[in-house]
């Protein structure tokens, strides 16, 4: 059967692809476009590893069809850093050990980026609830939350205490 021709913007670049109408955006990203930074942990929207931003909203790419992306603006982990360097979130995850195995990290960074775009000064509780759809099995979340809060502070131009000393 004929595949659907889709034109979308992915990380600021116009991209064309052909997909079956049943294929998820996640499958398109990973298997067709070679963008394997977006991960599949469950395929049912329960883990958040496949988080991307679609037209400004945080979504699970496993719960969106590739064909639905026609005309959409998709942002993935591959577009978070630019040629000037890492995004403050990425830098803080490195400095504060906000990752262990790293499989959930792309989804969490994308989700946190979407949060900070809406709320530049979230509380610990707001970060925790925003990220509740992003499972991490390694860290117990502590250092993830600290990394997000520290990145937010840096993006606001504030200094924040070093690892292990932060109290929130």
């Amino acid at each position: 059967m004929a595949k659907n021709h889709v034109t979308a913007s992915i990380n600021g670049q116009q991209v064309d692809y052909l997909c079956d109408s049943t294929e998820s955006l996640l499958t398109v990203l990973r298997d067709q476009l070679g963008m394997t930074g977006t991960k599949e942990g469950c395929g049912t929207g329960d883990c958040g590893a496949c988080s991307v931003i679609c037209d400004g909203e945080l979504i699970c790419s496993c719960l969106m069809l590739g064909v639905e992306a026609t005309g959409s603006k998709i942002e993935t982990i591959e577009g978070v850093a630019d040629s000037d360097g890492l995004h403050p979130l990425q830098q803080k995850f490195l400095e504060l050990a906000g990752l262990q195995c790293g499989i959930c990290t792309p989804g969490i960074i994308v989700a946190a980026k979407a949060l900070l775009a809406r709320n530049s000064d979230p509380t610990e509780k707001e970060v925790r609830y925003w990220l509740a759809g992003n499972l991490c099995r390694c860290t117990g979340y502590d250092k993830i939350i600290r990394s997000v809060l520290a990145a937010a502070a840096q993006m606001r131009g504030e200094e924040i205490a070093v690892a292990g000393e932060l109290t929130v």
Binding site: G45, I59, L63, L65, E68, T70, A114, G133
Partner: protein
């Protein structure tokens, strides 16, 4: 996988035509449909995506009514300050559907049409007297949300029909609502049980009392249940302990839950009383605050 034709109607007329194909399915947020397809649901021959029909993307707040289109997502609703102040219980129910990511796609009308007994947005819709605006080949019709669902995953839509919008009577200034659900974690679970309470208060010399009430419970029967006895227990009271206990007991009595992986029937019967009491208190406090505010 079988073939599926994806189409994106630009108007309601087009959508009605495309849905006329036998077996055609609707796509709004897709957060249930894609999981069902992955889980082995037969692939529909046609999938009609409603997200590009402009009039379905609107939240309209009028002097007498509030209208929410079928394409409106959870996050559009929870971000809507006026809607949140008018119907906080409905908005919190919508906000409990899935994760942040799911909120970015999922629609309350999809939540309704999916027909889960545990759907978080539905009890508050019914408690607020919401009406489904339905369109099909034979024209338009309306149906109260409370009459729309007939069982788990089942509703009254005829072939080719779909829900275009939900319409709520605009709440009065002395009216408010609340929805509470119970889940084992803080997020990411389906409701074990839920309760929506919608109250209209009136002022008396001894303070506000409940003039009218509606109590709807979820997750404890094949569909959300309106519990008139619980409402009657609240009406005329200032929500004293006896009234709250009676309302809770009425919810327990009305509940017809099953035991499953999310909780036993006995557990659901117990906690639906707790949720009814607590939601009633929250709704009362909200309405009382408005009453107080409007008197200033």
């Amino acid at each position: 996988m079988s073939e599926m034709i994806y189409s994106v109607p630009a108007s309601l007329t087009e959508a009605v035509q495309q849905l006329a194909v036998p077996g055609a399915a609707l796509l709004a947020g897709g957060t249930d449909l894609l999981i069902q397809l992955r889980g082995g649901r037969p692939v529909p021959p046609n999938l009609v995506d409603l997200k590009k029909i402009p009039e379905l993307q609107l939240i309209e707040i009028g002097p007498d009514s509030i209208r929410i289109g079928a394409g409106v997502t959870g996050i559009q609703i929870t971000d809507h300050a006026e809607l949140t102040s008018l119907m906080p219980g409905f908005v919190e129910g919508v906000g409990l559907i899935g994760s942040t990511q799911v909120q970015g796609r999922a629609t309350p009308i999809g939540n309704l049409c999916n027909g889960s007994p545990a759907a978080d947005s539905v009890p508050a819709m019914i408690a607020a007297d919401a009406v489904c605006e339905i369109i099909g080949r034979e024209g338009s019709r309306e149906l109260p949300v409370g009459d729309f669902l007939t069982g788990p995953g089942r509703h009254c839509l005829k072939v080719g029909e779909f829900v275009v919008a939900l319409r709520f009577p605009r709440p009065r200034t002395n009216q408010s609502d609340a929805y509470l659900r119970f889940i084992p974690r803080t997020e990411m679970d389906l409701a074990v049980a839920g309760a929506a309470v919608n109250l209209i208060l009136k002022n008396t010399d001894s303070g506000p009392i409940v003039a009218d009430a509606k109590v709807v419970i979820g997750g404890v029967a094949p569909t959300a249940l309106t519990v008139d006895d619980a409402a009657q227990a609240l009406i005329g009271t200032s929500l004293d302990d006896a009234a709250l206990l009676a309302a809770g007991a009425a919810s327990t009595a009305a509940a017809r839950p099953i035991s499953d992986k999310r909780g036993t029937a006995q557990y659901r019967k117990k906690i639906v009383a707790v949720l009814t009491r607590r939601a009633a208190q929250v709704a009362f406090d909200r309405a009382a605050q408005q009453l107080h505010g409007s008197n200033d």
